[in-house]
């Protein structure tokens, strides 16, 4: 049984005693775009942090292409799982170019061709190359964070709450570019967001995170009840 892509099975996460994730299972095949919606505080960010090693797991397994994924963030990144964190995590005092260079350090081989394609796909980022990242607008910073994640040639890209603080217009540009690029380059993506409508429109498959577990996503009226009770 060869399972390609990211497979999370029966994941448990506790943060200072609180049970955040309880028995979460999920898979992201290479080249597929998976959405995970859930209300505020449902544990979406924790899920991604547990996958990338930023948060400790207290049970369950996380595998990439059948092999267990390390619990140290630097090794996860080197194995091919890039995490675009909530709040974007750009280095404000470094230039856009330096931020992108950092993305290429993960040791998965430099790919200048990929970088060029990324710059074509995200022209706004290419244009701002020499600016300090801290001076960029929220939308531009989000684009930069996405480019920095993609430039490491990941097999799987984890994207956390990219809608946060973005205007609908900036968000639309960002998600459309991201998804188009991911499809073209066959990058698997796990996009986690409160904004379920954005996910519904752009993802191949979609789930709901509730009570620390994954449930199938249901259409509009029931979806609302998942958020509101």
């Amino acid at each position: 049984m060869t399972s390609s892509g990211l497979v999370v099975e029966d994941l448990y996460v506790r943060i200072s005693g609180a049970r955040i994730i309880e028995g979460l299972s999920l898979s992201v095949p290479v080249g597929e775009i998976v959405g995970l919606a859930g209300r505020n505080g449902a544990g979406k960010t924790t899920t991604l942090r547990a996958i990338s090693g930023m948060a400790g797991r207290s049970g369950g397994s996380v595998r990439l292409d059948g092999r267990p994924l390390s619990t140290r963030p630097e090794n996860v990144a080197r194995a091919g799982v890039a995490h675009v964190p909530e709040g974007r995590g750009v280095f404000a005092d470094l230039t856009v170019d330096e931020n992108i260079r950092l993305g290429m350090l993960a040791g998965r081989g430099r790919d200048e061709g990929l970088r060029r394609r990324l710059e074509e796909a995200f022209p706004a980022v290419a244009r701002l190359r020499d600016q300090k990242a801290g001076r960029l607008s929220g939308g531009e910073q989000q684009m930069l964070a996405l480019v920095r994640g993609l430039v490491s040639r990941p097999k799987i890209l984890l994207v956390d709450e990219m809608s946060l603080g973005l205007s609908p217009r900036a968000l639309r540009t960002a998600i459309e570019t991201l998804v188009a690029f991911g499809r073209a380059e066959r990058v698997g993506m796990l996009i986690v967001d409160q904004n379920s409508r954005m996910l519904e429109e752009h993802c191949d498959r979609m789930f709901l995170l509730k009570d620390g577990r994954v449930e199938p996503w249901r259409a509009a009226p029931e979806a609302a009840s998942a958020y509101f009770d």
């Binding site: 200072s16 005693g17 809608s163 639309r172 998600i175 904004n195 409508r197």
Partner: protein, 626 residues
């Protein structure tokens, strides 16, 4: 490193002191006795440093400054002023405390690293000043200063048994004052500060003042140590007070075990006896040996000798059989019983929400009075260029539960911070009971009746539940620490009243009595949230602000918190609560305000709010449709 500050250290301390008192019976060798004298003198300062670091969470790498002040002031007064020694000693100790107050008020505002560097620096400067020409008139400069022998009622206190028991007496005094301090309001307050300064401030604790007090106590007892050092040496030179000794003293406390009062005494005896024994065998390796021990302890064995002793004692108790009542029993029962007790309570809570008359039932009465307790007008908070709150106006009526919901980053916590005074608004007004709060401090707002909880409860983990609630229940954290140390009637009354209020708060929340004396580290997350609410209730607020009381809780625990909140409301307190969990809001809230991008989107009853399409849009997104 700074993890533990122990509660029950009185008996071990007594044991250590009694052993030191009996030691001369066994130790007949004169040189060994004088080693013990030096050890006790260092220990006088070490217990103070333990209060400062272990209980108050602050660093000092310069305690020998206060040793020097005590020693020099006392000797100088006797030599040049002809002051009798007991008076000179008292003045020396006072001077050390006074300088500590001065130094501390400059340094406590820094994080521990800053105060570590600052005190270290001061230690070096003091030696420079002592050996320099500027103070030569009183200190004898690099030539040093004679400290004449002292005697009391014909007993020579500068040598032999007189000196030994004099040092032991001074150590006992220092240790008892320090022990007493850890049990006063001030001592417990500084443990809250060690845990989290913001939480402490919100509870009405004067953070800077309490930190300075810990420094003064540590400085004063170090001054006493200095006086004893002068009596022991008979001669003072600047090198005696070199900054290396300060660092060694810190090392002694760490090796002995922080947060134990008795541990540093053991550490000191260990250090001086071991180095003495080594110096008999090899020449000059004692410092090397101590540095290695210190390093090994810090790297591999964080707890120090005291912790080692505790582990041995626990082992002995377990071997002696389970019949002995022991503290190990508490640790053993911990994991099982909290869950059980919590589950029992939760089950009750879960069964009851409808029975206790949900918000809708009670609303008829409260709806009649539109009496406003808190009014926010056009409140704006800016961080750099970002507006976290953008012209928020809302009001909280008397006796209502008002919920604030909204997506991440909507400004909910900023709103709570502004009301409780943790964050100053850029513009706009906050009016409580018709009175504008302006830029009143956190503690003044608490006096006006605003209490709050935090998303992360920040309880003092090594203090029990009742203790945690009681420290939040003091009417006032003002007044001098001396009356507390002395335990005057007024202070005892304050303490009793705080305890009574704590008991009342816990009872009101129906917190199971069996769990009152469990350490906060050993209770469940759900219980922590209850304790946090009880702690805020201890201040007898008119307005209670709750920050995410359900974060990280399971369904049953949430129901139990919801019940607690309704209980609090029914006792006449108005509540403003931030929540993620919309179901919970529906259970508890009378009214609900939705924040989005720092603005009020809508403010209605929960039912109406959750039907509003705009609210759905905020939570679930607009997608690319526009």
């Amino acid at each position: 490193m700074l993890a533990r500050a122990r509660e029950n250290v009185g008996w071990p301390l007594l044991g250590i002191l009694v052993l030191l008192g009996l030691a001369p019976l066994v130790v007949t060798e004169v040189s060994m006795r004088s080693v013990l004298v030096v050890a006790m003198i260092y220990a006088i300062g070490a217990v103070g440093l333990d209060v400062l670091t272990g209980y108050s969470g602050q660093f000092s790498f310069g305690q020998f400054v206060y040793f020097a002040i005590g020693a020099y002031v006392m000797s100088s007064l006797r030599e040049f002023g002809g002051v009798p020694w007991p008076a000179a000693l008292v003045i020396g100790v006072t001077a050390a405390g006074a300088v500590a107050a001065l130094v501390a008020s400059a340094l406590v505002r820094l994080r521990f690293f800053g105060s570590a560097v600052g005190t270290f620096f001061l230690g070096a400067v003091a030696v420079d000043l002592l050996s320099g020409k500027r103070l030569e008139q009183w200190t004898g400069g690099s030539n040093g200063l004679v400290a004449p022998p002292v005697s009391l009622g014909g007993i020579d206190l500068s040598s032999g048994m007189g000196l030994y028991f004099g040092a032991l007496l001074a150590l006992t005094a220092s240790a008892l004052v320090c022990l007493r301090y850890t049990r006063t309001r001030a001592g417990i307050a500084s443990r809250v500060i060690k845990q989290n300064e913001v939480v402490a401030a919100v509870m009405g604790i004067r953070v800077v003042r309490e930190k300075v007090r810990a420094h003064v106590l540590a400085g004063s007892v170090a001054g006493l140590g200095g006086c004893m050092l002068a009596i022991n040496l008979g001669y003072l030179s600047p090198e005696t007070f070199h900054v290396t000794h300060s660092i060694m003293l810190f090392g002694i406390v760490v090796v002995g075990g922080l947060g134990s009062i008795g541990g540093p005494i053991v550490g000191s005896v260990f250090f001086f006896v071991a180095t003495y024994a080594l110096s008999l065998m090899y020449d000059g390796v004692s410092e090397l040996f101590f540095a290695l021990i210190l390093l090994a302890i810090v790297i591999f064995f964080n707890g120090g000798l005291y912790d080692l002793g505790e582990r041995v004692a626990r082992l002995v108790r377990t071997l002696a059989g389970p019949s002995l009542p022991s503290r190990a029993g508490r640790a053993g029962g911990g994991p099982g019983s909290p869950a059980g007790a919590a589950a029992g309570r939760d089950a009750r809570g879960a069964g009851e929400p409808q029975a206790s008359g949900g918000p809708d039932g009670a609303k008829v009465i409260r709806g009649a009075s539109d009496d406003v307790l808190l009014r926010l007008e056009d409140l704006t908070v800016q961080f750099g260029g970002v507006k976290a709150l953008d012209g928020v106006s809302l009001d909280v009526r008397r006796g209502e539960v008002h919920a604030i919901i909204g997506p991440n980053g909507a400004g909910k916590t900023t709103l709570l911070n502004s009301i409780s005074g943790v964050q100053a608004p850029s513009s706009g007004t906050i009016v409580l009971n018709g009175r504008p709060l302006g830029n009143l401090s956190v503690s003044s707002r608490r006096k006006l009746g605003i209490s709050r909880t935090f998303q992360h409860p920040s309880l003092v983990g090594d203090l029990d539940v009742l203790g945690n609630v009681a420290i939040g229940a003091y009417e006032s954290h003002d007044g001098t620490v001396w009356t507390e140390l002395a335990g005057t009637r007024r202070k005892r009354r304050l303490q009793r009243r705080a305890r009574a209020r704590a008991v009342a708060a816990l009872e009101r929340l129906e917190f199971p009595r069996a769990r009152w004396h469990v350490l906060a580290d050993d209770i469940t997350m759900g219980e922590q949230k209850h304790v946090d609410i009880a702690r805020a209730m201890g201040g007898e607020p008119t307005l209670l602000l709750l920050d995410e009381p359900t974060a990280g809780l399971g369904t049953e625990e949430i129901a139990s918190v919801a019940k607690a909140i309704r209980t609090v409301r029914d006792s006449g307190v108005s509540i403003l609560v931030i929540a993620h969990h919309v179901g919970f809001v529906r259970q508890v809230a009378d009214r609900c305000t939705v924040l989005d991008f720092g603005k009020v989107l809508v403010c209605e009853t929960p039912g109406q709010v959750l039907q509003d399409p705009r609210v759905k849009e905020v939570f679930m997104g607009t997608g690319s449709r526009r």
